[in-house]
Amino acid sequence: MDPKEDKLPLFSAYVLFSEGVQFEAAEIFDALTEDYPDLDVRRTTGTFIRDTLCDTNQFITEGIIGLDGEDAAGPVQLVRLPGYGQWDFKALRPMARVNCPDLEERLARNRSYLAISVPATGRGLVEKFTAARLCSALAAVFAKLPVALAVYWEPADHFLSPEKTIQMADEALRDEWPILQWVGFDAGFTQDGSVKGLSIGMRAFADCEVSYAPAPVDIPTSVTAMHAFIWLKLVSGNPFNDGDTIGSEADAVSGKANRLRLIPKGKEGASCDTWLILHPEHKAEDLHKFVEPKAANPPPSGVDNNVQPRAGFFQSILRGRRQRH
């Protein structure tokens, strides 16, 4: 097995400050439980857990909070290392900026940062969700400070305003998925004016990404289609097969539903499995490089093989897990 695959998923957020902030790990735990009393977390004690005065103007390497409880994950690390925490606004993807208005001005005022990392305790979706939620809540604790400028959510490679960060944590605390904050989207025009797109960070939860093949649509259409796929896979728990169609019931009737093709990891350099959304008028001329042709296989007459979304699916798993403990 690839050593990288052996590692448990890690969720990281960089909080950018207009000036240095001094804190102790114990204060952060107190703030976390004060802001989010519904989180079932307790501090552990152990030889590797230290109450050190951390200063984001200095290096921080020992800001570790060990937590127990239903909503705990792996040990939380609060870190500031040299050589990180600086971004060139002009070098950012346009869609890395959309969740943080005035980002250029905020980055110009960035004087200090803190990286928060939370590893999942397992590879299951619940463990990953729990770690992402804890990381979000900790980022929100810092985002509420008046000196907080922005948060870089590393798995999605995008920036969030302090308000969006707080919104992300609040949503996750309701057992809902803040997909637009946890997953980034990249969408843009090809040379012939088609639009193509790609998710960034879905792999942290489902070991795959979703891509929108070039098609004559607008950017919101491509992002909406990718977002819908992610929602169906993560929140609704719908299983997908290579060649399935995805869309509204009206799309299914009119034969205009998007088709899904699975590009396996390693194919043409794909670093993880990628679900490709094919619009009926897609312009993916090199599709044959990635997937074998697949003939349509409609159900027998009178058989309805449509699968409906299941809105409360993930919440039921999460609550079921809580009841078992």
């Binding site: 207009s18 000036e19 902030v21 001094q22 804190f23 204060e27 703030a31 005022r109 509420k144 008046p146």
Partner: protein, 148 residues
């Protein structure tokens, strides 16, 4: 450097006094009908060395300037000046006048509009005539050119 425990729950520093102190300066800047970026930069520099503005970020000061401009449009200059005088102690009214005089003399001269604004400002802020003259003398000394 800020302590997490102090920052937590704080909405940022109270800017009431800071806003009142710079209000006469903003009115002086606007006396010629427009405010340019160099005037705002000069005011920001003045604020940077004043303990009144300690802990208040430059962005917040820019926002205060914009608020004062909006207030002037909504209420008129005299009302804005009276409200500023109402929240300032006599000592800070002198400081506010000193800021305004410094901004007026930033280019080394005072035009008629600026002179009239300064006179009106001194009256509303009830700055003692002797103190007023001292302030103007010091500001003129500060702004002497290299060939003086």
């Amino acid at each position: 450097m800020a302590l997490f425990s102090r920052l937590r729950g704080s909405k940022g520093p109270d800017t009431t006094i800071a806003k009142a102190v710079i209000a006469p300066s903003v009115l002086t800047m606007a006396a010629d009908g427009r405010i340019d970026n160099s005037e705002i930069a000069q005011l920001a520099n003045l604020c940077g060395f004043s303990p009144i503005f300690f802990g208040i970020e430059g962005k917040v000061i820019s926002d205060l300037i914009n608020q004062i401009i909006s207030d002037v449009r909504a209420k008129g200059s005299e009302q804005v000046l009276r409200e500023a005088a109402g929240v300032l102690s006599p000592a800070l009214r002198e400081t506010a006048f000193c800021f305004a005089a410094r901004i007026s003399l930033a280019d080394g001269t005072i035009d008629r509009a600026e002179e009239a604004t300064l006179a009106a400002t001194a009256a509303v802020l009830e700055v003692n005539r002797d103190v007023l003259n001292k302030i103007l003398d010091v500001v003129v000394i500060l702004q002497r050119p290299a060939n003086a």
